[in-house]
């Protein structure tokens, strides 16, 4: 068995309202920042998986991403392999 570290990035699906992203954009004026757009705020979960190989580990992460970390009706996720 070896250890693999992954990140799951979860973001609101395109077309789905992202109130947080909108609030951030609305506040940038107060920070004196301009030229920033298309802000989307999501979640990022990092985790370590013990498995026989990377494929097996990735399968576990994909399942968790789908069932636990994201809401498939309104969010999309991407799995990223991290250096240990």
């Amino acid at each position: 068995m070896s250890s693999f570290r992954f990140a799951v990035n979860v973001a609101p699906k395109p077309g789905i309202l992202d109130p947080q992203g909108r609030a951030v954009e609305g506040s940038l004026g107060h920070l004196g920042v301009s030229g920033v757009s298309a802000v989307r705020v999501g979640r990022r979960v990092e985790l370590t998986v013990e498995a026989a190989g990377e494929e097996a580990a990735r399968a576990v992460v994909e399942r968790l991403a789908r069932e636990l970390f994201s809401n498939p009706l309104i969010e999309a996720f991407a799995v990223e392999r991290l250096d240990p």
């Binding site: 609030a23 506040s27 107060h30």
Partner: protein
């Protein structure tokens, strides 16, 4: 009458309650809109509860950049009295006006219930009229109220009397750490409120303004607001003494 300003951010939702509570405590309470740079001659400023900017990203963080916060920070730097309640506490913590940070409740759920707190220091502008340190009952209503600071900071806060309020049981015995329902959000060392080193800026998670009327179950919060009004009145009369202890 002593004028006390209550900051109104988009998303503040305890501003009217706080204005009313301060009036009951004897102040002339005025709203301060977040876009304004002036505190309109307020002798003290209160940042009320709510969800400023929806509390999106992190509670209090976006509000911190509102124009009025520049004025509040400058006022605090001159020794002006500032009190943050609930979301207001989160805002001043994000702004670095008081030490520490407020994390999500350990139970990961919003909690609205009555708690007991006791004032640790009885000679501050925020507590001078709360009496003998008996436990005070008032509501909390927050999702991010778990007080956090590193151990060194916590030790220093305790040493210097900066821990203002602590969660306790109804009989006054201190609440435990995580897992004790008397410490509803799992705050480190059961801290419910702190002040800055100079002693003129304080924040607490419970809502004294919601405990300002017997008919609502408790008026234990009123003395906290009265202490502030009293200290503000003194600061107005003797500006040189502004807010120091």
């Amino acid at each position: 009458m002593t004028r006390i300003g209550v900051v109104v951010f988009p998303g503040s939702n305890c501003d009217l309650d706080t204005l009313r509570g301060l009036e009951l405590a004897g102040a002339e309470a005025v709203p301060l809109w977040h876009e304004q740079g002036s505190l309109e001659g307020s002798a003290a400023v209160v940042l009320p509860g709510g969800f400023a900017y929806g509390d999106y990203l992190r509670a209090g963080v976006i509000a911190r950049f509102s124009p009025v916060m520049r004025a509040v920070s400058a006022f605090a730097a001159e020794g002006g009295l500032v009190l943050g309640i609930c979301n207001g506490f989160q805002v001043i913590a994000e702004a670095g006006l008081v030490p520490g940070a407020l994390l999500r409740n350990r139970g990961l759920r919003f909690l609205g219930r009555d708690v007991w707190i006791s004032a640790e220091q009885l000679d501050t502008p925020f507590t001078s009229l709360v009496g003998d340190g008996r436990p005070l009952r008032m509501p909390i209503a927050h999702g991010e109220g778990c007080y956090f600071a590193d151990d060194a900071t916590l030790d220093q806060l305790e040493r210097d009397g900066q821990v203002l309020f602590r969660y306790v049981h109804a009989d006054g015995t201190p609440a435990g750490a995580e897992g004790d329902p008397a410490n509803p959000n799992g705050s480190l060392r059961a801290i419910a409120g702190v002040r800055n080193a100079r002693g003129n800026v304080a924040g607490l998670m419970p809502h004294p303004e919601r405990a300002s009327d017997r008919l609502l179950g408790s008026d234990d919060g009123l003395p906290i607001l009265r202490s502030l009004v009293d200290a503000a009145a003194r600061a107005e009369r003797e500006p040189a003494l502004a807010a120091v202890r």
